[in-house]
């Protein structure tokens, strides 16, 4: 056990703290919205890339900062932005950029990574279909190669941000006769082409976050494939891993809990701050203990990666625990505020611009999206604990 950082990392941290102190005010406020980045957000991202606090490990030639990869630096960046409650930058799109870097052709990298990192190019993820959610590998949207184009027919659903997206990374069935996991290819293409129809779906928050995306004889260039034909499932799993890495991030949970403490100190009932009211106070302490457990669990995962070991169970639980915890933190904020907690939209008296209700709902979305809680439990049970898979369902059995 040695929680000290090397001198180099300490300097890195204090420089970052100094940077955050100086530039905090130019950071955009609140959660990043889905869709086009605001000019403010783009400028912030530019500044962060220039200083090496965003897109840090993406090569310079693709628009990043070009530092050599260092896991502890990433950890320090995440920690300090969270502690300062400043919106962090990004490395483009966490779901697709790592895949392009790892498996993309040089042409794809050159054309796509820089604008993505700059926030000029927005992506959407075309995986889920009406008939294929948790059982994603059963997807049936098909693509047929005709000359130098793929012709896509089918439907995607829950495509977050498709209405604003410039690009799509999409799973399609290209080898209909192959076993289900081996018949899928990973295609990327622009969204502004004939044969794509995007119909926004309003979510429970009242906003259209995701969409139905229809493909009718939609032609996309053949060289938009990442990896080989039929390897799409494995390419996608690389991205799912990145996505899961960010869902349930303990830094985010810690920063939410900090906001909750502020709220409970400032809001009162009959003049008593909420944090002094035993029932709320008790719930807060329960959540804090769970948050701390996940924070130190994160340090354990980090240590395993630094030693090039597989973290195992600590890693498998992050999405399940983290998303649930975020949801519960928002739930306490709402309960402690009582009637004020259900105010919404532009209501008078609303607190924190309605952030808590929105989090409460969006966090529920994240308990479902990116692999539902039940699927997470299946994976923990089967892969971490070695419990047997369920037998296949047989018609009439």
């Amino acid at each position: 056990m040695d929680l000290a950082y090397s001198e180099r990392h300490q300097i890195f941290r204090s420089e970052l703290q100094q940077f955050l102190k100086e530039h905090k005010d130019s950071a955009p406020k609140g959660r990043a919205s889905i869709g086009k980045a605001s000019d403010e957000a783009k400028q912030w991202q530019q500044l962060l890339i220039k200083r090496g606090y965003a897109a840090r490990y993406i090569p310079k030639k693709y628009g990043g900062y070009g530092a050599e990869f260092d896991l502890l630096e990433s950890h320090i960046i995440a920690e300090e932005f969270s502690r300062a409650n400043v919106r962090p930058g990004h490395s483009g799109d966490e779901r697709v950029v790592p895949v392009l870097l790892e498996l993309g052709t040089e042409k794809q990298k050159q054309e796509l990574i820089e604008p993505t990192v700059n926030g000029e190019m927005i992506w959407c993820q075309g995986y889920s279909e009406p008939g294929s959610g948790s059982d994603l590998a059963s997807l049936s949207t098909k693509a047929v190669l005709e000359g130098d184009e793929w012709v896509i027919n089918g439907q995607k659903i829950w495509t977050s941000g498709a209405q604003h997206a410039d690009m799509c990374f999409c799973l399609v069935r290209t080898e209909p006769d192959a076993p289900k996991h081996q018949g899928i290819s990973y295609l990327i293409f622009t969204m502004d082409r004939p044969g794509i129809e995007v119909r926004p779906l309003v979510t429970m928050t009242g906003e259209a976050i995701f969409n139905e995306t229809f493909f009718t004889d939609c032609r996309v260039p053949a060289d938009g494939i990442v990896g080989k034909r039929g390897e799409g499932w494995f390419v996608a799993n690389a991205t799912l891993q990145h996505e899961r890495g960010s869902l349930g991030d303990p830094n985010q949970t810690e920063s939410r809990l900090r906001s909750l403490v502020e709220l409970m100190k400032n809001e009162t009932i009959d003049g008593t701050p909420l944090i002094k009211i035993p029932a709320y106070r008790d719930r807060l302490m329960r959540l804090q203990a769970r948050m701390l457990g996940m924070k130190y669990n994160g340090m354990r995962i980090l240590t395993a990666y630094l030693k090039k070991e597989e973290p195992g169970l600590p890693r498998w639980i992050v999405k399940l625990q983290g998303c649930e915890l975020n949801h519960q933190i928002a739930a306490l904020a709402i309960d402690a505020m009582g009637e004020l907690g259900v105010l919404y939209e532009d209501s008078p008296y609303i607190r924190d611009a309605g952030m808590w209700q929105k989090s409460y709902m969006l966090d529920l979305g994240l308990i479902i999206g990116g692999g539902t809680a039940q699927i997470q439990k299946n994976m923990i049970g089967e892969r971490a604990l070695g419990l047997p898979k369920e037998p296949k369902y047989q018609q009439g059995a």
Partner: protein, 361 residues
């Protein structure tokens, strides 16, 4: 940055667990507790021989001078084995009280004896957390009078460290005149807690605990961390047993672990317990390295492990079906160990209140 056990710590854990596995099986525990024994001679001797009773005692005072994280690993191993020996009171809380509140003479006199296992200490601080069924304990003129409840390791103790109403700590010979002890039967037969009545019993005050609550609070923090670690070990066994049973027991022509209802119970237990391990490692580590963080964390570790421990004790029993409810399987020994731990040194609600206070809230 390295948040992991060192090689030496893994070895320590393996050697204690290995010893307990071979010498402190469920059958051994059963046999002992049937006779009402909470300090089983063979197991106690084995633990003495491992040299771990002096885990936090300085080398020049006969100990091995290791850290709290090492101590927590031992407590976890003892919880795993539901070991019927006095450890948390005698080997952890009493040394902390002596080291933080005692005079040089007191330390030199008692710590080597604790480390060798020659003297067992019981520790009574319950009244400073939640006073029930007693009017308290008063110190005057070198003597102690009143009643201490739920004294940790109190039945097997040769000596006692008792907090009076002001929070000052005193050493009392458990066998001296003016001391009456009675075992309080609890659900957990592997450990004993005692009621101890003092009637002008001679008391040797820890001088630095007189006008300073720190020695008392440090003693309580230490006890809470170790109890949490004990629960971690006990709960881990229950998860492992449930998972093993789920892989082997068949119903409807399938192993029950392939039923999602069962699989998800197991996954939830594992997923709730795993962060507890990190919470305990970190908390124990702060005692030596970041003591300003310890109080709130010790409260959190104690309260959170109590909650997760209780859920696991229940769920693991359910996974075993009717077998889980039997004496034969013996899972209930772990269930009860966790149950006693939950209430000792403050039940979760009380301890969470202290966690909030410790953060100035």
């Amino acid at each position: 940055m390295e948040f992991a056990l060192s090689e030496e710590q893994v070895m320590l854990q393996d050697s204690v667990s290995g010893y307990l596995k071979s010498s402190c099986s469920l059958d051994v525990v059963r046999e002992g507790v049937a006779g009402g024994i909470t300090k089983q001679a063979d197991v106690w001797q084995g633990i003495c021989d491992l040299g771990i009773l002096g885990i936090i005692i300085p080398g020049e005072l006969g100990g091995v001078d290791m850290g709290f994280l090492d101590a927590a690993l031992i407590a976890e191993a003892l919880g795993r084995a539901i070991a019927p020996i006095p450890f948390i009171g005698s080997a952890i809380m009493a040394p902390v009280a002596l080291l933080s509140g005692g005079s040089e003479e007191q330390k030199e006199n008692w710590l080597p004896k604790i480390a060798s296992g020659d003297t067992v200490f019981g520790v009574g601080v319950t009244e400073q957390i939640a006073r029930r069924e007693t009017d308290g304990i008063v110190y005057s003129d070198g003597t102690l009078s009143g009643k201490a409840m739920f004294v940790v390791d109190g039945i097997d103790a040769d000596m006692l460290i008792i907090a009076d109403d002001s929070g000052a700590l005193h050493i009392v010979d458990a066998n001296s005149s003016g001391v009456t002890r009675r075992a309080l039967k609890t659900i957990d037969k592997t450990r004993a807690v005692a009621e101890i009545v003092f009637d002008a019993a001679e008391a040797d005050t820890l001088p630095r605990s007189k006008n300073d609550k720190e020695p008392l609070l440090k003693t309580i923090d230490a006890g809470r961390i170790m109890i949490a670690a004990d629960t971690l070990g006990a709960a881990q066994v229950m998860v492992e047993q449930a998972v093993a049973y789920a892989k082997e027991r068949k119903q409807f022509d399938r192993v029950i672990g392939s039923f999602q209802a069962v699989k998800h119970m197991c996954a939830e237990m594992a997923s709730d317990l795993e962060p507890c391990r990190s919470l305990i490692w970190y908390t124990a580590h702060t005692v030596n390295d970041m003591p300003e963080e310890t109080r709130a964390l010790a409260c959190h570790a104690k309260a959170h492990l109590s909650e997760v421990g209780r859920d696991i004790a229940k769920t693991a029993t359910e996974v075993h079906g009717g077998m889980g409810f039997t004496d034969l399987l013996g899972l209930h020994y772990w269930f009860k160990r966790v149950g006693l731990n939950r209430q000792l040194l403050g039940s979760p609600e009380l301890v969470r209140e202290e966690a909030a206070l410790a953060q100035g809230w």
